[in-house]
């Protein structure tokens, strides 16, 4: 029977990679909304990014696997849709990791600030949608490489 502190649990979850974008963790992504003990049950509140994102069920599976591996036996995952997830909840560390990985992080202006590969500001939109619900396709007109942009919502 483990009685880990809430802070420990947050630290462990910060090591669980997002299944679609493994460069960032679930905590970086901002989908973990709360961690608390309800008696001897650990309750983790998770919010989906997009309502139909297929990664949602994998995310729950990964959280459960990671916490069970740390000895948490009584675990309850709570889904919360309000307030809805926003890219404002993504951590600054997460945004920096995304850019290093080659994905332009979300910007309030609605488009990427610069090409994540060559840092040029000469970029243009290819399509509003990309390989996952959370991304759009852009292109750099300087280095000519296409890249993913994490949509700002």
């Amino acid at each position: 029977m483990t009685t880990a502190s809430v802070q420990d649990v947050w630290t462990w979850l910060a090591d669980v990679p997002d299944p679609e974008i493994p460069a960032i963790s679930l905590v970086d992504l901002g989908v973990i909304r709360d961690v608390k003990w309800q008696g001897d049950v650990l309750e983790v509140t998770v919010t989906p990014t997009y309502s139909g994102c297929p990664a949602t069920s994998i995310i729950n599976f990964e959280i459960e696997a990671a916490l069970r591996a740390r000895g948490i036996e009584n675990l309850s995952l709570k889904r919360q849709i309000a307030p809805p997830w926003t890219t404002d909840w993504m951590t600054d560390t997460g945004k920096a990791k995304l850019e290093r990985y080659g994905i332009a992080p979300p910007q309030a202006a609605g488009g990427p600030k610069r090409c994540p590969l060559c840092q040029s500001h000469q970029v243009e939109k290819i399509s509003q949608f990309g390989s996952t619900p959370c991304k759009a396709q852009w292109r750099c007109t300087n280095c000519l490489e296409p890249f993913d942009y994490f949509k700002c919502i």
């Binding site: 997009y50 849709i81 309000a82 809805p84 399509s127 509003q128 990309g130 619900p133 396709q137 949509k151």
Partner: protein, 240 residues
């Protein structure tokens, strides 16, 4: 009663999501293919929320899946607009534009709903719908004000689909909000886009009705459901 209103919302997103997914692997360009599949995914995700809540409120042991897969055409409560076949890309995008415009306004109004669970689903969906309308507006403008061929097709699409617009603003006590109140904003927004797209709104308010009441669906719905439901009906124990 809110269950009927929830089913209407969920059936709209379910039927349109299924229609859009029919394009997967067939769209005119890779980017469009991905975009249509992504919008289908958003709509199916919203369906799980609406029909999930409907099933829970109904309390008869059904789930979002049983509502989606084990009802027949006459029990569906979606708008006639969303069950219309895809036809060409122009018809698909015009259908999307007309739906997105109504959908975004309806969801925005629902974010203020007294029922907290309904408001929560609307708040989640409104972000996705905002993005959808932005894209379908851009596409209608690009194709309407495009080549002679694309313009002709977009005008034909508008003429074909316009008689299905009126049903979005027909309303009764089953609806979660008074849908008739959304008409002025719909006309204002679509007129701006049509002007930029050099398209002419048909000068008639004639409306086909019967989808959201279930009284008279078009023949297209049954064919679509046959494809969508065949697997879970033939193999009830099938799981992913």
């Amino acid at each position: 009663m809110s269950v009927a209103g929830l089913i209407r919302m969920g059936d709209n997103t379910l039927v349109l999501g299924q229609r859009l997914s029919e394009w997967c692997g067939h769209a005119p360009a890779l980017e469009e293919d991905i975009a249509l599949a992504n919008m289908a995914l958003d709509l199916i995700g919203q369906t799980q929320l609406w029909l999930g809540l409907a099933a829970e409120r109904e309390g008869a042991g059904r789930t979002a899946d049983t509502l989606a897969y084990h009802r027949d055409a006459w029990d569906f409560r979606n708008l006639l607009l969303v069950e219309q076949p895809n036809r060409d890309f122009g018809v698909t995008m015009m259908r999307q534009f007309l739906f997105d415009t109504w959908h975004l306004d309806a969801l925005t109004a629902l974010t203020e709903h007294d029922d907290a669970e309904i408001a929560a689903i609307a708040q989640k969906s409104v972000k996705e719908a905002t993005y959808h309308r932005e894209r379908s507006s851009d596409t209608v403008i690009a194709l309407g004000d495009g080549t002679e061929e694309s313009h002709t097709r977009m005008q034909a699409a508008l003429d074909r689909l316009w008689p299905y617009v009126g049903e979005m603003f027909s309303t009764d006590t089953d609806d979660l909000i008074d849908m008739s109140g959304l008409r002025p904003a719909f006309y204002a927004y679509t007129d701006t886009v049509f002007a930029e797209a050099t398209l002419t709104r048909p000068n008639t308010d004639f409306a086909h009705l019967g989808g959201k009441t279930g009284a008279r669906h078009t023949e297209h719905l049954g064919h679509m459901l046959a494809t969508m439901q065949v697997l879970p009906r033939n193999y009830p124990d099938a799981t992913w």
